[in-house]
């Protein structure tokens, strides 16, 4: 088996590589690496492998799904097309605040370019398109495996373009399967966070007392899984040669998804262990009050900082529109570490990493809400 992996340097791609690298034997893995030119691409790849202790077993291919023919020369493209049997497409523009055109250029048009490349792969037998559970948008309640927004609007351009990308892939006529992933804030093994995104900002705001009110209630759940667990499950799934073209899978926590109360407790535990102040539990706002918070010129009246209000406008829908995702049980190949262990580990890593700041001392921003002593 020879796999072409896109998105190798992203959070999920990295964990897939780590999962494969831990094996004595593994397939040939070609990793599409984006860079202005080959020299810088190879240098970037070498540095990435060095930092993450990946060794030299993976094969870099400098290219870009945003470019015609993936930015590959004719000879390189043909050589690669002659080898590849499986494509795992994990590259995506994952920022929730991206303008639609930018998200579309990567997530939809980029997928289309990759599928054009795939059509030239003579030995291709499988395309695994990585997507997100949250293509369901603001739909509420139980989302069955493969379920879409069912008429509900999207929270952001990421969700919308990922659903559009699924449609492009499924309509390509190629042997495509879709694997939808949960939110994955970090590793269960050591709490490592590869990139800090909107969800981490919300965690940080919680802990710093900048977000004393949220939509939903204490039992509202947010589907999330450890990124290394999700990658291990996908790697095991790819080991199975038999698959169903056209299938949509959900790597979801389902009923194991953490509630807002559990998330708060995880943040409180990680902060308390480090002697940091612990904010009181957030107030849970009914829909009308939450709408008032979002439109307020003085969100501090709700115990929410002005910046956190901005973040809630992008991700608050994930809490306000509560849903439970039905998981594809056969993809959950392993038992994940209980959330009460791994989420505090992720929060703890982020605290020790100072939420990605390039400095050593913790930020000392005045809190909006009251803080408990550690």
């Amino acid at each position: 088996m020879a796999i072409l992996l896109t998105g190798a340097t992203g959070s999920f791609g990295l964990e897939l590589l780590r999962s494969w690298a831990a094996r004595r034997e593994m397939p040939d893995i070609y990793c599409l690496v984006r860079a202005p030119d080959t020299a810088r691409g190879l240098a970037r790849w070498e540095a990435f492998c060095e930092v993450h202790s990946l060794g030299r077993r993976f094969i870099p291919v400098v290219g870009d799904i945003e470019q015609t023919e993936l930015g590959l020369s004719l000879a390189s493209r043909r050589d690669l097309q002659a080898r590849i049997t499986t494509i795992v497409h994990a590259a995506a523009h994952i920022r929730f605040d991206a303008p639609y055109a930018l998200a579309h250029a990567v997530n939809v048009a980029g997928t289309a370019r990759l599928l054009d490349f795939a059509r030239g792969c003579a030995k291709l037998n499988r395309v695994c398109q990585i997507s997100t559970l949250y293509v369901a948008g603001q739909r509420m309640g139980l989302v069955p495996v493969g379920g879409g927004p069912d008429g509900a609007p999207f929270n952001n351009s990421y969700e919308q373009t990922k659903l559009e990308a699924e449609a492009v892939a499924l309509g390509s006529g190629l042997p495509v399967e879709i694997v939808r992933l949960s939110l994955m804030p970090g590793r269960q093994s050591d709490g490592h966070v590869h990139r800090y995104l909107d969800l981490h900002m919300l965690f940080e705001a919680f802990g710093r007392g900048l977000c004393s009110a949220v939509p939903g209630n204490g039992e509202t759940c947010l589907d999330m899984l450890p990124v290394d667990y999700s990658a291990a499950c996908l790697a095991a799934h790819l080991d199975e040669p038999a698959f169903t073209p056209g299938a949509i899978h959900a790597l979801a926590a389902g009923k194991q998804a953490p509630s807002l109360t559990v998330m708060y407790e995880s943040i409180a535990m990680a902060r308390s262990q480090r002697g940091l102040p612990v904010p009181p539990p957030p107030a849970f706002l009914p829909d009308a009050d939450y709408a008032a918070l979002l439109s307020s010129e003085e969100p501090e009246q709700f115990g929410v900082s002005f910046g956190t209000q901005t973040i809630l406008r992008t991700v608050g829908g994930y809490l306000a529109k509560a849903k439970t995702f039905a998981p594809s049980e056969k993809l959950l190949a392993f038992t994940p570490t209980p959330l009460a262990e791994w989420l505090p580990r992720v929060i703890g890593f982020a605290l020790d990493d100072n939420w990605g700041r390039r400095r050593n001392s913790p930020a000392r921003m005045p809190a909006v809400g009251k803080m408990h002593a550690p």
Binding site: R95, L210, G307, T310, T314, R358
Partner: protein, 86 residues
């Protein structure tokens, strides 16, 4: 009421130092990014949001997502302030 770019820069600088008091004030310059100065993603959102509030302008996160440094932010805020001033 019009506002100069220098005034917008001063607003951004003030909020950056309020939110990240341990940043080297002398290093704050148009060609530097807040990230390079040691701000987290949340810090940056707070700075931008507070600056927008003080300048009474609104720019969506989408329209700010391509900004590379403080100078780019100042330009975007100044443009919005001038547009509003008519």
């Amino acid at each position: 009421m019009s506002v100069s770019k220098d005034e917008v820069f001063a607003v951004v600088r003030k909020h950056l130092l309020d939110i990240c008091p341990d940043i080297d004030a002398a290093a704050i310059a148009p060609g530097v990014s807040m990230k390079d100065l040691g701000a987290s993603s949340l810090d940056m959102v707070e700075v931008v949001s507070c600056a927008m509030r003080e300048l009474a302008v609104r720019i969506s996160r989408q329209d700010l997502s391509d900004i590379k440094d403080i100078g780019g932010l100042v330009d975007r805020l100044h443009d919005a302030a001038m547009t509003k001033a008519g």
